[in-house]
């Protein structure tokens, strides 16, 4: 296990490469998913407000 973690002495190069890649790939998908949820909330809120205006 520790052999795996030290990567034969190259841990300082291998793990940052994998770590930053994992972070970047996750964000590339997570950010639009969050934006999608936000947008739906915003649009629903706007629809409710429009309804109130028309029924005044």
């Amino acid at each position: 296990m520790s052999e795996f973690l030290t990567m034969g002495g190259y841990a300082l190069f291998v793990w940052p490469a994998y770590g930053i890649t994992a972070l970047a790939l996750t964000l590339t998908v997570a950010l639009p998913l969050r934006r999608h949820r936000q947008l739906i909330r915003e649009l629903r809120l706007m629809a409710v407000q429009r309804n109130r205006e028309t029924h005044k």
């Binding site: 795996f4 990567m7 034969g8 002495g9 190259y10 190069f13 291998v14 940052p16 490469a17 994998y18 930053i20 890649t21 970047a24 790939l25 590339t28 998908v29 639009p32 998913l33 934006r35 999608h36 947008l39 739906i40 649009l43 629903r44 629809a47």
Partner: protein, 256 residues
């Protein structure tokens, strides 16, 4: 009779590319594509980091190949998607193609950035330097600038359709950089090693190392698909916000 058939085909084609249809398809595909992508990454990472043997020259440092090469391949593949969809948008004024081009650019920029970064982290222990103005590295850096230039252009022009057309021209001119990247290691014999997988005769890489690499390449392809599906939904919802079908969508299913 013939014209009738043609009309129905055309109608079908239009429905296929219509925003609500694409939105629903993207929503339906997203969980499956994500699951498949996660599975590919799990198997690819396990086989690349654990099962694959140590390289007799480079030791364990070579394992960076399993992200470096897929990221570099994707940086070029996404550029082809950007140029082709941009070109389709330019010629046929298809809004969907314009949207695909627009949302592909930042994803392609991420792959290009990762290819450069992981290459740098691999170059330091193997070549003794983080960076060198080698032909392969320089042309890949130019690719990053092409993506960033495209994105800057999209942000600078207010009218989306004008921005799409201007961007498509830039993307198409930039295609010239792709063969330069690919052949750079053969045209200029500098520090970056030659091709190992895409040689026509036989790849100079052991099967036990090639299989994890191809699995990771597949995982990256699926990641691009997931990113594209997630982005196209936002794009469609945003541009179609005033339409009746979006109103129905919002009023109906609480989870959409």
């Amino acid at each position: 009779m013939d014209s009738h058939i043609e009309l129905t085909w055309r109608a079908r084609f239009h429905r296929l590319g219509s925003p609500p249809a694409v939105y629903r398809l993207a929503s339906k595909l997203l969980p499956w594509a994500s699951a498949l992508c996660g599975l590919c990454f799990a198997v690819g990472l396990y086989s690349g980091l654990v099962l694959a043997p140590t390289d007799y020259q480079q030791g364990e440092s070579y394992r960076i190949i399993y992200i470096h090469v897929p990221a570099a391949w994707m940086s070029m593949f996404v550029y082809v998607v950007l140029a082709v969809s941009g070109g389709i948008g330019l010629i046929w004024r298809m809004k969907l193609a314009e949207a695909v081009a627009r949302i592909s650019a930042p994803v392609g920029a991420v792959y290009t950035f990762l290819a450069l970064l992981t290459g740098s982290l691999w170059g330091k222990p193997m070549w003794g330097t983080w960076w060198i103005w080698d032909a392969r590295l320089t042309s890949e850096l130019i690719l990053l600038f092409l993506y960033l230039g495209y994105m800057a252009l999209q942000a600078a022009i207010d009218d989306r359709r004008t921005a799409a057309r201007a961007g498509a021209v830039l993307a198409l001119v930039g295609v010239i950089n792709l063969p330069i990247i690919h052949y750079s290691v053969e045209w200029w014999n500098t520090l970056h090693q030659g091709p190992t997988v895409t040689k026509f005769d036989q790849p100079s890489i052991a099967l036990s190392m090639l299989v994890p690499l191809l699995l990771m390449a597949l995982a990256f392809q699926l990641h691009f698909l997931v990113a594209l599906l997630a982005r196209i939904r936002v794009e469609i919802l945003d541009t179609e916000r005033r339409t009746a079908w979006v109103a129905d969508l919002l009023a109906g299913d609480p989870h959409v």
